[in-house]
Symmetry: C2
Subunit: 404 residues, 2 copies
């Protein structure tokens, strides 16, 4: 494939116009939107308005005047169509870790007599850590098995199955409908972490019959560094579940200042303390980058970008070995290389931003709203040149530093 | 007292220059900094830089380049001198509610064989709600008694005493050193909620021997709506306590992606998930408004402002009854009035911003960095006029709306 052919794919891309919604820096090919989504152009003005006019001029009155108080549910309702949820089923706030704790604890309480949280060994570590923190408090057990063994491991003691839809490293995608059905067949609840799938593909929680989900606001949702996360509780379950992180904004009447906690009806009960309104404003600008976007177009483009990346790597970068599945996968890819760390540093030095994952993986994410086929072509051209010239093999590229 | 005399007090005020650090709207006397601190002038530029340059241009690299990763501890170290804590004893992130949950759970685990969280009946409701959520998970018990009875109620089953230093309604201030000593004498840990005191008075956790504390970033710390909160763990206790909200950023090696949680050394172990960097940037601007400010000047001004307010109310607004203590108290005051709600609405309509608290209280907060003696004089002039004319007694002022 030539660059002209890649540009022709961009010309035919129904999502090509979305790239203009982002302020991408010159000279950079950004393939790390799976770690931190790019800046929406509208975010700067939204933040300035929230800071200067809302906070500065209207001060405390803004909680009502600009509906700050409604942000967690308003933003949740904007995320809902991206993940196949209904109005009133999604709430924004806190971090993915905190939201996971709320829902795991609620799930355990809703399945009395069952004591196991079942997950996969390679799940994103914070998901396992949070489950460990909860089991340390409650006496429940976290059991982890290899990804392929999860379905067979669900049993009568399983209160909740906790899986990440798309694996953060290799990008393997679980069959959401099948595993949810398996959990239900055994009487367990099913909790999905959508951090690496929401905003990059056509997630359909309702079609899968999913019970619970959490996800990240700062990856494909473009909400800014450390953006508030979201949680989903199927409407049919909301009044049976309660959050142990029972802060005042989840109370039925937060401003009555009653001495005892009474959970609010519906999804609002999963709020805890007061959310950052500035962080909410940035996430709202991030969610607006999805306006008018069809989820099937999004998924098709994600697949086309990553398929093209694989094809070009295999044609032009034979030293790299695909370590992601060729079949069902998310919107990022990993490749093994003996000098993966130095290679990624050299790529970053040439303006191709991906990231490194232990022990020998380079990772590239494809954000369908702003990455182009030409981005893929140009990234491969840079990488092929580095590999051929071995220009990555220099001491300063080998120096480790912390990267999120 | 005349307005000229109030202006003379301002001229002699060692903190008068701090008012210029805030962008206060024209025509407003803002006496609600105890609910939402005013906008620091430097915040707008700090936010724009964080959004446009750091997030927009440098993207994922900013975690290292601008030390986003260090923000929770860096901001904690800036709060430390405001509350009498040392370097490495304060951490910023999450909400007050979430931080309270972390520390209450850690305290219970550190006092095996004891099962009671002791608090006061009138504590801020979210503190009680969070304790209720935790006891629901663990089988521990929350016991509440009237404020005066707390000291006598500490016993051999008390794992932790949880009190708010300054009461959110009436403003009563507890004797931190005395109650901490009483908790220790009974073998219990002492946890202080500093939400209504940090940034308004000379808090000295170390001098009091306090074990644990939490507090709010969006009141007197001027961190913006829903700003990240803080927590304090005395250095001597840090390695004995662990957070049950054990997210990846509290891990000893978050980027090693190990399957099992290992708490980081020191205060970092109380981090959970990824914090909002935009919210952190605003709070950092808020904390900079304290640069060069002596805590004893701060406390003296808080007292002088509120003493003057009481004196002028008693002279000019005899229909109001002081419902705050005359003695040890915080930086806000409440007064009872039979038409408190309508009176506060009328005050707000005339540009004097305080708030209403059930059932019949008007509340006024005094932020020593930006409130002036002239603010107090002018607020009283408006209130005296409203009370004399009964101009508050109109249907549209009686209409209730939700106010945080």
């Amino acid at each position: 494939m030539t660059l002209d052919e890649a540009l022709a794919l961009d010309a035919a891309d129904p999502l090509a116009h979305c790239r203009e919604r982002f302020a991408l820096p010159d000279g950079v090919i950004y393939l790390d939107g799976n770690s931190l989504g790019a800046l929406p152009r509208a975010a700067a003005a939204a933040m300035a308005d929230t800071v200067e006019r809302q906070w500065g001029d209207d001060l405390i009155a803004s909680w009502n005047k600009y509906d700050w108080i409604g942000a967690p549910q308003r933003l949740g309702d904007r995320i809902a169509p991206l993940i196949g949820a209904g109005k009133g089923e999604v709430l924004v706030g806190d971090s993915t870790s905190i939201n996971l704790f709320k829902l795991l604890a609620a799930a355990l309480a809703a399945r009395p007599g069952r004591s196991t949280i079942l997950s996969e060994t390679g799940n994103f570590p914070t998901d396992l850590y949070i489950a460990q923190g909860l089991t340390g408090l409650t006496g429940a057990t976290l059991r982890t098995v290899e990804a392929d063994a999860v379905e067979g491991a669900i049993d009568g003691d399983t209160a909740v199955v906790m899986l990440t839809h798309v694996d953060y490293r290799g990008g393997r995608r679980h069959d959401m409908a099948r595993l949810t059905a398996a959990a239900h067949a055994a009487g367990a609840l099913m909790l999905w972490d959508l951090s690496h799938s929401a905003g990059a593909m056509a997630v359909d929680l309702r079609a899968a019959g999913a019970d619970l989900a959490v996800g990240c606001g700062y990856k494909y949702l473009n909400g800014g560094p450390g953006a508030p996360a979201f949680l989903y509780v199927a409407e049919r379950l909301q009044d049976q579940l309660a959050s142990p992180l029972s802060g005042w904004l989840g109370h039925a009447e937060p401003f009555a200042f009653e001495p005892d906690y009474r959970p609010a009806p519906g999804i609002a009960r999963f709020q805890a303390g007061t959310p950052s309104i500035l962080a909410m404003a940035a996430l709202e600008a991030g969610l607006a980058t999805f306006d008018g976007v069809s989820m099937s177009d999004l998924e098709a483009k994600s697949r086309a970008l990553s398929d093209l990346f694989i094809a070009l790597v295999e044609e032009r970068c034979p030293d790299l070995t695909l370590a992601s599945p060729r079949g069902s996968r998310g919107s990022h890819l990993v490749f093994a290389h003996p000098h993966a760390f130095a290679l990624m540093q050299a790529l970053i030095g040439r303006g191709v931003i991906g990231d490194y994952r232990e022990p020998d993986l380079v990772r590239f994410g494809f954000a369908p709203l702003y990455n182009s086929f030409a981005d893929v072509w140009r990234a491969i051209a840079v990488m092929a040149d580095l590999l051929t010239s071995r220009a990555y093999d220099q001491p300063h590229f080998r120096q480790r530093q912390r990267v999120t």
